[in-house]
Each structure stands twice: as structure tokens, then as C-alpha cells.
């Protein structure tokens, strides 16, 4: 329990540090951090499925997409969501993500393992196909440009203001997801991840639990989409395409699945390489590749496994640990 509080404090300190430090950095860094924060809400939502329920989804970008398209279509076609009604759009985005997930969940949640992977992939591609082909609504391949960010008392087109908004949503999402995974419901998800059959024998309706987790993940995905649309200023099928889902999955694994915060770290690392390091050096892809490979080889728990790794390293330095190591040989 002690260490749990320490971890919470560390996360709170990190969020506060971001809030204090980032506005003093260059305007490009503010933009990048905002992007990474918005996207990490999607990564965390995926982590609920991947890390806590044991369902590897390859279609999470669909929820980002629907949230983003709802925002963009309302803003450009109906001029809706550019004032105080922005909060309604946030609500619509969350609902759209949840409703889409509720629909997709009917097909996907019954499957497990690689079949779940395949079904979510297929459903995600359906959304991509719609975004790509439904020209009159989505603008097809060209996507939709959002001309302005909302203004209500505060002007979100100001990058620092917008950064604080996204940071606020990020912190709230993290808190909400953390409370959820620590709740009895979260514990039942963990149980399902470890051994679904046993949970069923214990009398849990595991399908329903997984379904609810799926819908919640979709809802957060929708929220990420609303923020993403205003962060990027453009919504295109690129947001819904398979590689975006894969990116989210990789980020979650890179940071450490089943930790929520790990996904955020993974997200910051990948964004940092892809969008910041790439402005400095042309060989950024090698660095990113090396980070992936080394993580898989040496940190199966992701970046969040590093403290554990260090503790193990220290422990193996002690004599009694050595003794233990000798026994099997």
C-alpha cells in the first residue's frame, strides 16, 4: 500500500511538472506534448483491454476516428462546437465512441486471443473504409480541415490554453481509469485476464464484464478523438487506418501493458522520436527500431518494468540471492 501511494504521488508530481514546465518551452514542444497527451488517452483506453482484460485489440483507432470525425463534421458542416457547445461535442464524442464500441462489442467480445485481434482489425478497417469512401461526409482521402478551435471565454486557439485543456482531460481520464481498474470491477477484469474459465465457474458473467470494459475503452477513445481533432486541426482516414491502431498497441506494450501510465510513457517516447527526433536527425527510425527491439528483448514488462529490473539486479547482487540462483543449476 505504501508503494502504491508513492506511485500515485510520482504520477501527480509528473503531471504537475508538465503543467509548470511545458508552457516555458518552445511553441513546437508545447504542440508536441499536447499531441502526445491527447493520443495517450487512446493508448490508456487500449490498455484497459490489453493490460487489464487480456484482449489485444487492433481496432482502437476506430474510436479515435469516430470522435474526431464527429467533432470535425459538426464544426465544419454545422458550425457546432466552436463556443460553449464544445462541451456538448465532448459529450457527443464520448457517446459516439461508446455506442460504436457497444455495437462492435457484440461481434468482438465473444472472441478471444488471436480471433479477437482479427475481428477488431476487421471492424477497424470497416470504419476506415467508411472514412475513405463516404466522400460527401468525410471528405474522403483529403479529410476535413478544422479552421478554428473553440472559443468560450477562453480562446483555445492559443496553444498554451489548449495544452492546459488537454492536460486537464488527460488527468481526469487517467484518474477515472485508475479508479476503475482498482475497483472490484477492475479486479474482475484482472481475473478474466488471468483465467477466464475460473471466473465463469465462480459465477461471474465474464462476457458482460468484458463487454463493459470494451464500451468504456471505446468511450475514452472517443474523447481522445475529440481532443485529437482540435490538436491536429485535420481529420483524415490516416487517423483511423490500421497503423494508428498498431501504433497505439506498440506504445502500450513499449511502456508496459497493464499499468496505464506505461502507455503514456510509451506514447511520449514514440511521439518524441517520430516528431521531435526526426526534426534533428535523419536516422531517427533506427533509434525507434532499436528501442522497440531492446524493449522486447530485455524489458518484457516495458518501460514500467525498469524499476523491477533494477531491484532484481540489486537483489541478485546480494549473497542470499546468489544462493538462490545456484540451486537450479
Amino acid at each position: 500500500m505504501q508503494s502504491q501511494w508513492a506511485k500515485i504521488l510520482a504520477v501527480v508530481a509528473a503531471v504537475l511538472a508538465l503543467a509548470v514546465v511545458v508552457p516555458f518551452t518552445s511553441s513546437f514542444v508545447i504542440l508536441l506534448v499536447t499531441r502526445a497527451l491527447a493520443f495517450s488517452i487512446l493508448v490508456m483506453s487500449l490498455d484497459i483491454l490489453l493490460g487489464f482484460t487480456g484482449l489485444a485489440s487492433l481496432g482502437q483507432a476506430a474510436y479515435l476516428g469516430i470522435g474526431a470525425y464527429v467533432t470535425a463534421v459538426l464544426a465544419t458542416k454545422y458550425q457546432f462546437g466552436l463556443g460553449y457547445d464544445f462541451w456538448l461535442v465532448v459529450l457527443f464524442g464520448i457517446l459516439a465512441g461508446a455506442v460504436l464500441a457497444a455495437f462492435f462489442g457484440l461481434f468482438a467480445v465473444r472472441a478471444t486471443g488471436v480471433y479477437f485481434l482479427m475481428i477488431t482489425l476487421a471492424l477497424g478497417q470497416c470504419v476506415w473504409g467508411l472514412a475513405y469512401r463516404w466522400n460527401s461526409l468525410t471528405g474522403g482521402d483529403n479529410g476535413i480541415n478544422l479552421s478554428a478551435r473553440p472559443k468560450f471565454g477562453i480562446d483555445l486557439s492559443h496553444d498554451v490554453t489548449f495544452f492546459y485543456l488537454v492536460l486537464g482531460f488527460f488527468a481526469l481520464s487517467l484518474l477515472a481509469m485508475y479508479v476503475m481498474v482498482r475497483s472490484p470491477f477492475g479486479a474482475s477484469l484482472l481475473g478474466i485476464r488471468e483465467r477466464e474459465l475460473r471466473m465463469r465457474i465462480l459465477g461471474y458473467n465474464t462476457w458482460l464484464h468484458k463487454y463493459i470494459a470494451f464500451v468504456i475503452a471505446g468511450a475514452f477513445g472517443g474523447l481522445a478523438g475529440v481532443l485529437w481533432a482540435h490538436t491536429a486541426g485535420i481529420v483524415s482516414p490516416e487517423n483511423v487506418v490500421l497503423t494508428t491502431s498498431v501504433d497505439a498497441l506498440l506504445m502500450a506494450v513499449l511502456g508496459g501493458a497493464g499499468t496505464l501510465v506505461g502507455g503514456v510513457i510509451g506514447c511520449f517516447i514514440v511521439f518524441g522520436m517520430r516528431e521531435y527526433l526526426s526534426t534533428l536527425v535523419p536516422w531517427w527510425q533506427y533509434v525507434l527500431g532499436a528501442v522497440y527491439v531492446l524493449t522486447i528483448l530485455y524489458l518484457p514488462m516495458g518501460m514500467m518494468g525498469i524499476p523491477e529490473r533494477i531491484r532484481q539486479g540489486r537483489a541478485s547482487g546480494r549473497p542470499n540471492a546468489k544462493k538462490l540462483a545456484v540451486v537450479p543449476s
Binding site: 513546437f28 504542440l31 474522403g140 482521402d141 480541415n145 486541426g233 485535420i234 526526426s278 527510425q285
Partner: protein
């Protein structure tokens, strides 16, 4: 003691400061910061390299000196994604404070980048050919100017040319995205307005490698096949078409047979005809010199991507020459540039009032021959007909043209498809 050192360091600090100011003043010349967006990684990396090389070659020729202004050339990788392109463009605008950013490959990237342009940082478009940026949306984005082309610009004379060859029915296969719709759509409008018929339109997705599901479905009663390929698709399609035993004439949009891919092609493309505003085989002394220099430097024949960026650098230089090496400010730059006339590698170029080039369109046939004194037989896009001074509206009336919607998957409607 400490007091003493502090006292002593003041003059030296002052001197250093003075030196800093002096050295800055002695450079004197204005710095011109040009941001450049090209996909240097990903599936379009080859094209991206041609884009950067073309621009860089001009800078090297003038030693980064634009009439006294020192050019700082900042290349950013847009990774072939509109989203990333916007982020990188914002980096160029916010952090590097560039006076202009140049580039963007895909039509969709062009649409995405347009809103980033401001009067402080204007957007110059050498490649991204998205029609509407200089047509129906031209009013929305006053701070951009195009030095390249619109997707449908070569298609309008090309459709007319197809009529002149006596083709009556043509089947079209085009990459399934905005650029494909605009190239094929422009051809269809021109071809059908002179009596031809497009009898089929197939849309394989961007990045298709196996055309098995499309080639056997091509209508057998067509007189010719029209293709529009992009990126790696350009290489695959003609091979598979030839393997399927095609005997019909093949016509292509410019990027189907551009020099970025032509050297990698085989004899299966001999006799294929395409239309674009540039060909590396343009037989002018200036172009011959350009091709030889480019090839000596980068080991390959320049593509239109190289040429259009080289020419863009030249145009920026020319405007600065008029202003004695001073950046005149974004709006003024656009005003001056669009009033100028250039004699470029691709031929004479001027601008219409929507800030798009008016230029020659070349109908090109692929032949195997020796050119420019190279001793090997190679594939070249030989120019067989030149349409001089073609605007983006081609043979059509501008006002009427702007009344119709932008070319898309469904426009013009396929009246003669069954």
C-alpha cells in the same frame, strides 16, 4: 576578491556583446529561411529524395546565396502523412520562423497544409497537385502559391489528344484517392467533350501490388487503357498488364511513367503514352545540361519532382533579385511572383489569377534510345506533341469550369459504363 573579478569581467562582457553585434552586422545580409517538407522515410521516400535533391541542387549552384540573402534550408520529414506534415509545418512556422515553407507530396497533404499558411509564412507548392487549392478554395487560402501543377491540368489536353488519335472507347484504372480522381476525371471531361466515351472506371486502392482482380475485368471492347498509378504501383501495373497479354495502347497520367520510376521499368512499357508538364527527355540545351549535371551528382535521371523543386528554388531567387535580396513579405512575394514570367527547364511558365502556373503540357511516348550523349539504350519519355501555355482550365471556360464540383470518384459521372 570576488568583487574585483566581477569588476574586471564587465568590460570583457561588454566587448563580447559588442563583438556579437558587430559580427552580426558584418554578415549584414538578410537570412532567408526556407522550410521544406518531403517524405524522406516510408513508401514515398524515393520521391521525397528527388524533391529534396532538386531544390538542393539549385541551392548548391548559387551557393545558398539568393541575391545577397543567405538561404537557410530546413528539410523536415513529412512521412507521407497529412497529419505529420501539419505538425512539421507548424514546427517550421513556430520554431524556425520560416518566411516560406515549400513541399508536401500527396494531394491530401496539400489540402492539409494550406490552412497552416499565414502572411508571415507563406506556402509554396511545387508538387502537391490538389485541384481545389487553386480553384474553388483559392479565395480561402490567400497565402499560398503553386509552382507545380493541378492534377487535372495535363489531363485536359491529353483527353483531346486521345480523341485526335481516333480512340472512341477507353477503360480507366486509377489509384483510389483524390489525385487519381482528379487526373482521370480531367481526362474524362476532355475526352467525352470531344466525342469519346469512358466505358469503365476501376479504382484499386493506393498501394495495390496485385492487380489480379482488376486486369481481367478490363472491358475487351475498349480501344485503349488509361491508367493513373502513384508510388510503387507505377512499377507493378504495366508488368502485370503485359503478363496478361494486353495488346491495347496504354495511356497514363504523368506519375504512371515519371522518371522517378522509369529507369526501373522494362520493355513492357515501350510505346505507352503519358502527359505532364515536364519530361527528362525534353530536347533543349538547358534541359540537357540539367539532366547531365543532376545525373552526375545524384546518379539518376531527374524526375518531374526534381525539376519542379529546382524551378521553385529558381523562382524564389528571381523574386529576391527584384528586391535586392530582401524578403518582401509574404503577400507582396505572392503578388510579385504571380505577375512574373519565367523561362524554365520545363518551358515558359506564367501564373493565372488563381496563382497556378500556365505552362506547356507535353504528350510523351516511352521509347528506348540513346539521349544526351549517354552510350546505353535507355527508356526515355520522348515528347511527341506539345500543347503550349495550358492553364488549369485547359480548353474549358473558367467560369463554367468552376461551377462544376471538383473531380471525384463520382464526378464526372460514368455515363457510358454498364
Amino acid at each position: 576578491m570576488s568583487h574585483c573579478t566581477a569588476k574586471r569581467s564587465w568590460p570583457s562582457l561588454g566587448c563580447a556583446l559588442a563583438l556579437l553585434i558587430c559580427s552580426h552586422a558584418s554578415v549584414g545580409a538578410e537570412e532567408l529561411r526556407i522550410g521544406f517538407l518531403a517524405p524522406t522515410t516510408g513508401i514515398f521516400a524515393q520521391v521525397g529524395k528527388d524533391m529534396v535533391d532538386g531544390f538542393q541542387m539549385y541551392l548548391d549552384e548559387v551557393k545558398n546565396d539568393f541575391a545577397g540573402a543567405q538561404v537557410k534550408f530546413i528539410v523536415e520529414d513529412e512521412q507521407g502523412k497529412p497529419d505529420t506534415a501539419v505538425t512539421k509545418a507548424r514546427k517550421l512556422v513556430l520554431q524556425d520562423k520560416v518566411q516560406t515553407f515549400v513541399g508536401g507530396l500527396l494531394a491530401s497533404t496539400g489540402y492539409a497544409l494550406a490552412p497552416v499558411s499565414t502572411s508571415e509564412s507563406i506556402y509554396i507548392i511545387p508538387v502537391a497537385a490538389s485541384d481545389d487549392l487553386t480553384q474553388r478554395d483559392a479565395g480561402k487560402f490567400p497565402y499560398l502559391i503553386r509552382t507545380g501543377w493541378t492534377s487535372s491540368q495535363p489531363s485536359h489536353p491529353f483527353g483531346q489528344w486521345a480523341c485526335d488519335q481516333g480512340y472512341k472507347k477507353i477503360a480507366a484504372v486509377g489509384a483510389d484517392y483524390a489525385f487519381g480522381y482528379e487526373v482521370i476525371g480531367g481526362f474524362q471531361k476532355a475526352f467525352e467533350s470531344c466525342g469519346g466515351r469512358i466505358i469503365q472506371k476501376l479504382w484499386p486502392p493506393l498501394g495495390t501490388k496485385d492487380f489480379g482482380p482488376y486486369i481481367p475485368n478490363l472491358k475487351q471492347d475498349a480501344d485503349a487503357v488509361l491508367t493513373l498509378m502513384a508510388g510503387p504501383m507505377s512499377l507493378q501495373f504495366p508488368k502485370q498488364l503485359a503478363a496478361a497479354g494486353n495488346k491495347k495502347p496504354v495511356l497514363g497520367g504523368g506519375t504512371s511513367y515519371d522518371e522517378f520510376v522509369l529507369p526501373a521499368m522494362g520493355d513492357e512499357v515501350l510505346g505507352h503514352v503519358s502527359a505532364l508538364q515536364y519530361s527528362a527527355a525534353l530536347d533543349t540545351p538547358r534541359n540537357a545540361e540539367f539532366v547531365k549535371k543532376y545525373r552526375a551528382k545524384y546518379g539518376k535521371v531527374p524526375s518531374y519532382y526534381s525539376e519542379t523543386n529546382y524551378t521553385t528554388a529558381l523562382m524564389i531567387h528571381e523574386v529576391l533579385k527584384r528586391n535586392n535580396g530582401k524578403w518582401p513579405g509574404g503577400p507582396e512575394f505572392i503578388k510579385q511572383l504571380s505577375a512574373m514570367k519565367f523561362d524554365t527547364l520545363r518551358g515558359p511558365v506564367s501564373f493565372d489569377d488563381l496563382r497556378n502556373p500556365v505552362q506547356n503540357i507535353y504528350i510523351k511516348k516511352i521509347e528506348k534510345k540513346k539521349m544526351f550523349g549517354y552510350d546505353k539504350d535507355e527508356l526515355w519519355n520522348t515528347v511527341i506533341k506539345t500543347y503550349p501555355n495550358v492553364s488549369q482550365f485547359g480548353q474549358f471556360n473558367k467560369a463554367e469550369f468552376l461551377q462544376q464540383p471538383v473531380y471525384s470518384r463520382d464526378f464526372p459521372p460514368c455515363k457510358f459504363c454498364e
